[in-house]
Symmetry: C2
Subunit: 264 residues, 2 copies
């Protein structure tokens, strides 16, 4: 048994979709979530900038004595995960590997990826898919407006529907669609409505949470002490809209009490 | 005569609407433009973060030996202009004062302001208007999606029209509408189409350029040596979309040659 927390970070509210899945799936675990809101959005930054931001975030979480770190951000996973795994001894998990494994098991070959500009241009998803899955056909789509819209809380209105329709235009003849940015599960209903039942729309947080649970058990570092869902949130820049979206997503009215300023 | 350049900065492509007006209005001046794309968007950052980013940008421009600095960003003007004017000896001009003076001269009392969350919450526009104009009635509207949409180049499509319509809903019975973020003149046509002829839609860059021209003449620091429109662009993070938007806005196909990386 290991009572230390699980650390998790993202550039904003997006990673909360992963937090939600992890606290539901990994019963007993405490999670410390860092939202690097000061640097939001990561999506259009260079690889070098993102590596530095990840180091800062991981150093902060390590000081909080976490036992594992989840990079709950598609951009940071695709641009910096390997570098981070080289720099640190602690287990660091991104949102890509477990999803690619899921796709491999399902036997999908025609794969759509919606993600930020940075993630798409890094080829993070495509490279991992090509390595694991023979004859995969990957269609990438940059969706730079979705993350800011999620931060705004516009995930189900007419504008959300129109923006999603615009982005789905190029994604034809696919078996599954990876929501390659952790903000995007907030648009899952709108996307599923438009793309239809034949496409498996993948929430990477859901897959990651299952995989994390397995890893914790294998390494024998689960925490069985906690009985209730427990988490703390740190932000690098206080953002009232973060609280609104987080409170809605996590169905937690007193979430404001769990949020502190992260200074580093 | 003073052959030094004019320095100008913004968090992204927004300030280019000001650059465009300044190179048209201030014939003979050379402009050095800094786009702090690494930190885009400024709009939802705290005052403390913005002050630090402004100091970094101004230090960079001062090293380039500029004779005056324009803060071509609504958020930075409203959050940091006064602080910057205290810290530095060089003339520093924001986008608020000249526009408020224009409104005063026109005799407008019912004033709409569209701006980023940071600008609206700082009350930068409202405070300045209330100080200058008696019995002014200011209606503020936070528009956090417009700047990212402008960065994306979505300024005239169906989505732009719908988002603008959403933001204009609360702006009734006004005589003028301040485009309080330098990105917003990119939506000027769509806004004017929806709000009608009775409202004076104000491009702050246009007003600022006229005011700058006057200041340069008064201080006797104009540059008559240059005959063609001349400018250089520095970015803190290379962003290919910046080049697309800039090239379209400034009608300059070879703009890529003028762009360099700013390292600081």
């Amino acid at each position: 048994m290991d009572t230390r927390s699980i650390g998790m970070f993202d550039s904003g509210v997006g990673g909360l979709t992963v937090l939600k899945e992890v606290i539901e799936e990994c019963a007993g675990e405490k999670v410390i979530y860092l939202g690097d809101t000061k640097s939001f959005p990561y999506g259009n930054k260079t690889k070098e900038s993102i590596i530095q931001l990840c180091k800062n975030a991981i150093d902060f979480l390590i000081k909080k004595d976490v036992k594992a770190i989840i990079i709950a951000c598609g951009t940071a996973t695709s641009q910096a995960l390997e570098e981070m795994q080289k720099c640190y001894n602690i287990p660091i998990i991104g949102i890509i590997d477990s999803t690619v494994e899921y796709i491999e098991n399902k036997g999908y070959k025609n794969i759509g990826v919606m993600a930020t500009r940075g993630t798409i241009r890094s080829n993070g998803w495509k490279n991992k898919i090509d390595k694991k899955i023979k004859n995969a056909n990957v269609i990438n789509k940059e969706c730079p407006l979705l993350a800011p819209m999620a931060e705004e809380g516009w995930t189900e209105n007419e504008i959300a529907k129109l923006v999603v329709a615009e982005y789905l235009k190029g994604l034809k003849n696919i078996q599954c669609l990876i929501l390659g940015c952790t903000h995007y599960p907030l648009f899952k209903e709108v996307i599923e409505e438009q793309i239809g039942d034949s496409v498996d729309v993948i929430n990477t947080g859901e897959i990651l949470a299952k995989s994390l649970n397995k890893i914790l058990k294998e390494k024998n570092i689960t925490n069985n002490k906690q009985t209730t869902k427990e988490y703390e949130i740190y932000l690098t820049d206080m953002e009232t809209n973060f609280i609104n979206v987080a409170s809605k997503l996590l169905k937690d009215d007193s979430i404001g009490d769990r949020i502190k300023l992260a200074e580093y």
